[in-house]
């Protein structure tokens, strides 16, 4: 009795279409079988003569793998049926999949029940520390926009397999001017304007990466990457695993993420939680120019698909970047942006903007906040967060995204798992409100996390 679907356990032998003594060849329909879903035709898999029907038509509930007939090969005659029958049964039993074999074993009393399969421990993550900046290194003030551009340019100079593609990245110089000057330096072969076709060019970039190139795919914003998300997840993130490690995908998807200003619900959304849910992807979301540069260079060199979440509002913010020939930062390492002892505030990207301002206000109120910039959302640097909470005993998470299943929820869970005994108060989450982003200026402000909300949350976990 063949299994005709992944879930079939037994079937009814509805009808024999061949009788004993008939010649059959591969592909001939020999019987009809009723399953719980349909009546299926059974084809002969071997050539020969139908020697004996073992299960007559009309038999109900025949277990999968029960022999239903014997087909005699060339040179065999009916006398070999007896010999063939038990052999065939043995073969079927022997070759049954392990899961089923285990099930039948468990029923036998004198056989000890097999140990339930337990997944092994996941590998421990060990991110390197930031490189030391040599004393006397010149610090250059630049915008995040310039830092990102420099990172791409440096990597393109270093490796001819790196190229940039996306909407308006070349002639227009980037919808947000992040790719400014790249076309002039590297030419149209390596700085490629695409049609407005996110699903297509994301897939095309992944295909090029499967062939060994190192694309940097810009989405004009991550809102539009929703059109391409199947390719990012099903093709980019999973292929290495599905190929048993044979074929990977070195590619960076980058562009502005999160809330812009007064563009309403379809153009204002934080995808941090979405992408950091996916095994096989790395997710980075920097808040400073130096981190943007060092991490984008690392992302381009990383052998795995990386989602690099930028922020439109932060593009114009200036901060200091070390002037080094090759400034690369480790992926997967959080940074303590402000040291403190009373409460840990955890943010990334635009959330850091609110968090640092809140820390200043809290300092004025006598609360010494430690602010952690996650920088990388996947893999998440649990160690840095836990060490800080073990010190402060209190934590507040900050994100633009929605609360349910958000990164803050994940942080709260990890803090509970690893620092429960150190907590002096429940973890507080400051987040975007669970509404589509409104257009009206006053409502938009309310929908976002704010400095005041962080201050309030920090005070509440400090009971002050």
């Amino acid at each position: 009795m063949p299994a005709l679907s992944p879930t079939m356990e037994k079937g009814n032998l509805a009808k024999w279409l061949k009788k004993e003594g008939d010649r059959v060849k591969s592909g001939d329909i020999i019987a009809e079988i009723e399953t719980d879903k349909a009546t299926m035709e059974v084809e002969a898999a071997d050539e020969g003569t139908l020697g004996k029907i073992l299960v007559p038509e009309g038999t109900a509930d025949v277990a999968v793998n029960t022999p239903i007939a014997v087909i005699l090969g060339e040179g065999e005659d009916k006398s070999s049926i007896k010999a063939a029958k038990p052999a065939q049964q043995n073969k079927a039993a022997e070759s049954a999949p392990p899961a089923k074999a285990q099930k039948s074993q468990a029923k036998t009393q004198d056989v000890p029940a097999p140990k339930p399969a337990i997944a092994p421990e996941p590998p421990a993550l060990q991110a390197a520390s930031d490189p030391d900046i040599p004393e006397g290194t010149e610090m250059v003030t630049m915008t995040m926009r310039e830092a990102l551009r420099d990172a791409m340019a440096e990597e393109m100079r270093r490796d001819k397999d790196v190229f940039v593609m996306g909407e308006e990245v070349a002639e227009y110089q980037g919808a947000y001017k992040v790719t400014q000057g790249l076309l002039q330096e590297f030419g149209a072969k390596r700085v490629i304007d695409t049609p407005i076709t996110e699903h297509g060019f994301a897939g095309l970039g992944i295909g090029a990466a499967l062939a060994g190139l190192k694309p940097v795919v810009e989405f004009m914003t991550f809102n539009f990457a929703m059109q391409a998300i199947d390719q990012l997840i099903n093709s980019a993130a999973k292929t290495l695993y599905m190929s048993g490690g044979q074929m990977g995908c070195q590619i960076v998807f980058r562009g502005p993420n999160g809330v812009a200003s007064r563009v309403a619900a379809q153009h204002s959304q934080d995808y941090s939680a979405w992408y950091s849910h996916i095994p096989g992807l790395k997710v980075i979301a920097p808040s400073t120019a130096a981190d943007a540069k060092g991490l984008l260079k690392a992302a381009i060199r990383d052998l795995n698909p990386v989602v690099f979440l930028e922020n439109e509002i932060l593009y114009g913010h200036s901060s200091q970047v070390p002037k080094l020939d090759d400034f690369v930062l480790p992926i997967g390492k959080a940074k303590i942006s402000r040291a403190g002892n009373d409460v840990t505030i955890i943010g990334w990207s635009m959330g850091m903007n609110y968090a640092l301002k809140a820390a200043e206000e809290l300092a004025n109120a006598g609360i010494d906040a430690e602010v952690i910039d996650l920088r990388t959302l996947k893999p998440l640097d649990t160690d840095t967060v836990v060490a800080s909470v073990q010190k402060t005993g209190r934590a507040v998470t900050v994100e633009e995204g929605w609360q349910q299943n958000g990164v803050g929820a994940e942080l709260a869970a990890r803090i509970m798992e690893h620092a429960f005994d150190y907590l002096d108060a429940p973890v507080a989450r400051v987040s975007g409100k669970e509404v589509p982003m409104p257009y009206a200026a006053n409502l938009e402000k309310l929908a976002l996390p704010s400095v005041a909300e962080i201050v309030e949350a920090a005070r509440s976990v400090c009971y002050r």
Binding site: P2, G27, A38, P97, G203, G205, G207, A209
Partner: protein
């Protein structure tokens, strides 16, 4: 309106002249695919293969003829009905079968299964489970060839069902815009799962689907391996000459259901029998071989026996190969 595999409007009427060796080699490979798939169906029935299992039986001439038109370095990518493509590109039936049974020496160490197998060495880029997703990926393979300035081409296979996916047309547009060396092979087996092409497609002549991108297309008798090879060579030359993409619609037919659990009630037994009896790619090749006295019945029987042995060995290997080590659970997520 039914689209027959011998549609009189078929553009590529010409068939390639096969040498004796080519006839025999095509016959052998098509037969290997057929026997492999029959064995896979049988092993599925025994519970050795799980999940989905989409058999290629009936369509063998398409992939075998196309492969004869390619050279080393060219890339092949397809959807989930992919076992035939793997065997045609020279992947080892043992490794393919062991992947179907989810064992450690499968091509993906048992982690991919029927729909997700790859061989960088053989230029086979999968094996993709999302309908139509392989089309931008295959276009990206062509992009990489163009970027590197080599003369390799990519062949992207998809079915009449996938031909209605939006990303196919996004890919056509970019491939034509950037003159990428991409052959799109539409394997029109007349049914997208259970939906006949006439019930799913406003334009059933799929070779015309590139018209608005200026991509030329031919309808090809996909049951005749010689016609497939001739069309494949024409398209490959077009791509290697730097003229951009080419569409080949292969009029073919699958004998089995969409997947193992498909009772195929959306078509008549007579329809299937008609194709099997009169247009079977392997039977036709066999008749030609006998008729042209390329080989006699005994010689063909010998080939049949050799193929059967290879497949039996593959099945044997795939049955006894151990499952992947539990430590493999966490490997290959990142590298």
């Amino acid at each position: 309106m039914a689209v027959a595999h011998k549609d009189p409007s078929a553009d590529a009427k010409s068939v390639a002249d096969f040498s004796k060796e080519q006839e025999l080699s095509a016959y052998r490979t098509m037969l290997t695919i057929r026997r492999f798939e029959e064995k896979a169906g049988q092993m599925y029935g025994m519970g050795l293969i799980g999940g989905f299992c989409h058999l290629y039986i009936g369509q063998e001439a398409v992939v075998v003829g196309m492969q004869m038109a390619l050279k080393a370095g060219d890339q092949v990518i397809t959807g989930y009905r992919d076992h035939g493509h793997m065997i045609a590109t020279g992947m080892d039936p043992k490794g393919v079968m062991a992947e179907l049974t989810g064992r450690s020496h499968g091509y993906s160490k048992g982690k991919g299964g029927s729909m997700h197998m790859f061989s960088v060495e053989k230029g086979f880029y999968g094996g993709h489970g999302i309908v139509g997703a392989q089309v931008p990926l295959g276009t990206g393979l062509a992009f990489a060839n163009r970027y590197r300035g080599n003369d390799n081409i990519s062949v992207t296979y998809f079915g009449d069902g996938a031909a209605n996916q939006g990303q196919v047309y996004e890919s056509f547009n970019m491939a034509a815009l950037w003159t990428l060396p991409a052959i799109y092979v539409i394997e029109n087996n007349r049914y997208a799962m259970g939906t006949a092409i006439t019930r799913s497609s406003a334009e059933v002549n799929l070779s015309r689907r590139g018209l608005s991108f200026n991509i030329p297309g031919d309808q090809v008798d996909g049951m005749d391996v010689r016609a497939v090879k001739a069309a494949g060579e024409k398209a490959a030359q077009w791509c290697r000459d730097g003229k951009g993409p080419y569409i080949l619609e292969m009029l073919t037919y699958r004998y089995r259901g969409h997947s193992m659990s498909d009772p195929a009630k959306y078509r008549t037994r007579e329809e299937v029998d008609e194709v099997r009896t009169h247009h079977d790619p392997i039977d036709m090749a066999r008749h030609r071989i006998i008729e042209k006295k390329i080989a006699n019945e005994d010689a063909l029987k010998k080939i049949d026996g050799e193929v059967r042995d290879i497949i039996n060995q593959a099945a044997e290997f795939a049955t006894h190969d151990p499952e992947p080590d539990v430590a493999e659970l966490y490997t290959d997520v990142y590298r």
